[in-house]
């Protein structure tokens, strides 16, 4: 279905490629990047950032799913 989120069975939010949960996860990934980058002195690539997030137990499942999706599709948040 066209209106289905690519990561779960929920419907896409208007104007987004994701449902409400994965859209929130995607927004959180985007907004936290600057904090991570600053923490590492501005030397953290997005790839390294994703790698670190995926390895952490605290990272939410929906966040890991969005990262996997971004890696598979070559997209960015």
């Amino acid at each position: 279905m066209d209106d289905q989120c690519p990561l779960c069975e929920r419907r896409k939010e208007p104007g987004s490629e994701f449902c409400s949960v994965h859209r929130a996860a995607s927004a959180n990934i985007e907004s936290a990047y600057s904090t991570w980058s600053e923490a590492y002195g501005g030397h953290l690539s997005k790839d390294e950032y994703y790698k670190k997030l995926v390895a952490l137990g605290e990272t939410g499942d929906a966040v890991k799913e969005v990262i996997q999706h971004l890696r598979n599709t070559g997209g960015s948040t």
Partner: protein, 703 residues
Amino acid sequence: MATALILTEKPDAALHVAEALSGRRKPKKVNVDGVPFFEVQGQEERIFVCSALGHLYAVAAKSTESRSQYPVWDFSWKPKHLVERGQKKQEKWIQSISKVSKEADRFINACDYDIEGSLIGYTILKYACNGADQKAQRMKFSTLTTKELKDAYQKVLPELDFPLAYAGMCRHEVDWLYGINLSRALTQSAYKFSKRYSTLSTGRVQGPTLRFVVEREKEIVTFVPTPYWVLRTKINVDGKVIEAEHEVERFNVKNEADRTVRDCAGKTGIIEKLESRTYRLAPPTPFDLSALQSEAYRHFGITPRAALGIAERLYLDQLISYPRTSSQKLPPSIGYEEILKGLGQMDAYRAETAGLLAQGTLLPREGGKEDPAHPAVYPTGTIPKRTLDPREQKIFDLVVRRFLATFGQTATKQSDKASVKVGGYSFFLRGSRILEKGWIALYGPYAKFEEITLPSLREGQQVAIEEIATDEKHMQPPPRYNPSSILKAMEDSEIGTKATRADIIETLYERGYVKEERMIATPLAFRVNEILTKYCPKVIDVAFTRELESMMEQIERGKQTREHVLLETVDYLKPIIDDLKLREEEIGQELTTTIREMRMAAITFSVPCPKCGDVLMVLKSKKTGKRFIGCSGKWKVNCTFSLPLPQFGMLTLLEKRCPECGFQMVQVRSKGRRPMISCPYCYVNKPRAPKPTEVTVKTPVNK
């Protein structure tokens, strides 16, 4: 001679009332068509005491149309056996009470003094005793001790507590209108689309409670942790190594933490300043039900519903006062000294009670919350007449120690802080100790304080950095709710009542909306919450639910009428339900996929078959009807792997793995029992104790 009929809520309460009123004689047990009554010969009247079996009447649709029909707005109170399954006993009870009531000239409601108790008595008197509610009287008590029951009988209130009973009626009716219409709308939508029946429910309090869990789950699954660094520092003070804190609790930039480590490693420092502060720790307030449930979960892992059940058993055994209370007050009329003397008869509390009685004045610390019907939960001072089971013993001890602690002296605690300067950096050494135990000694194991003693220190003393390193940490997602913290959230938001909250939490589990003790919202919970948010947001709006609660509380105070609240409810619900009915197909479609996936997920193990690697599932034997773990490889490679499962209770496949063998753990929840978690693989494969050696004794043969 006149005849009185006294109604109690539970059989134990009936016995205690009968014993209290019969003086030294034993009450006579009489059987009326299979229902036990107690007959007491009073000085001026013959008294029959009978217990109800909880509610004997319930709200039901006026018409007897199909159970799937909705909307339903017309209702009446009907005998419970006519509207609910498995209530056969109730029919006999109604008939017998009705029969005895024909001989009675006087009627007394002696059910628990709260909304439910008042309603139970009111409906029986009104419907089974031919309108006796209008002339009935009310006994008011908070413990089932002989003294209090006699007193309540002598000072019986001239009429029923109608505002309380009407508030109870209204609560049942409003909840019924919400529950029946919204739940049928969800269930029917799913059924019409999928042609498979699955019970879905929501309600006035259930909806907002589910929303709490779903919102929290959403925060957790979308959580992105951010890093920070802390210093792990140890300082050597005259050969003694002590952990120290750096002035900066968290470094948000790694380089800054690393620089501090480089600058301080191997350096010496000086104690610049020594400070001590003394704190006063006031005794705890007495237990209201929520605080008791919360402490029972914190110390023993007993769920709120189980804690209430145990507390009610202790109340029926005359050991504690009525537990369904919101009060944090202990009025002098309960007789502090007498209770302490009673408790002093038990070895476990002898020393503590003697100490309190020697204090002279007894003044408990009270909280701000009040309950017009009952004081806070307190022990009666009665010694248990039977051996309490371990969980009853724990709750009893908790109630006793909390009661004792409220009379205790204020405790004092000292906290010490030494500031250490190393170059330009500041570190702190911290210690704390209890100076005067006060109430802490009375609360015993339930008041835990960690004491850290610092060695003798002086200003200007030289110390050395023994070890310093950085640790990378990450911000944590908010914790999942557990049965105790969700209860607290409901209470803080003022939704539900002390009597219903624990049951609502249990329903969330039963409907498959949440799983595991740390409550994980399932996809179905997300879906139901989304549908309610989309089509009827006010139903899960906490503020609206609270507004309704407040209207119902006003009925209790006689400031609002039941009719008004019911009209408001129907006016509000009608357009919502009509709209849901029009959108059945849309909603059904949204629910069906999730239900299907949930059904599959609920029976599919994430660990593969140890024999063939295929998927393991919960299956049912066609032959015996028993459930077991089977391998889907059976249909492909004829894999015969199987494991037995518990046959009773609601089975949940947990995410947790067995620490012994790594197999997926399962949980079984049965009503009124603690959830049981086990590993099906270890259950079969664990080494069993060898059977005792059989000794064959040869029968001597007489030759």
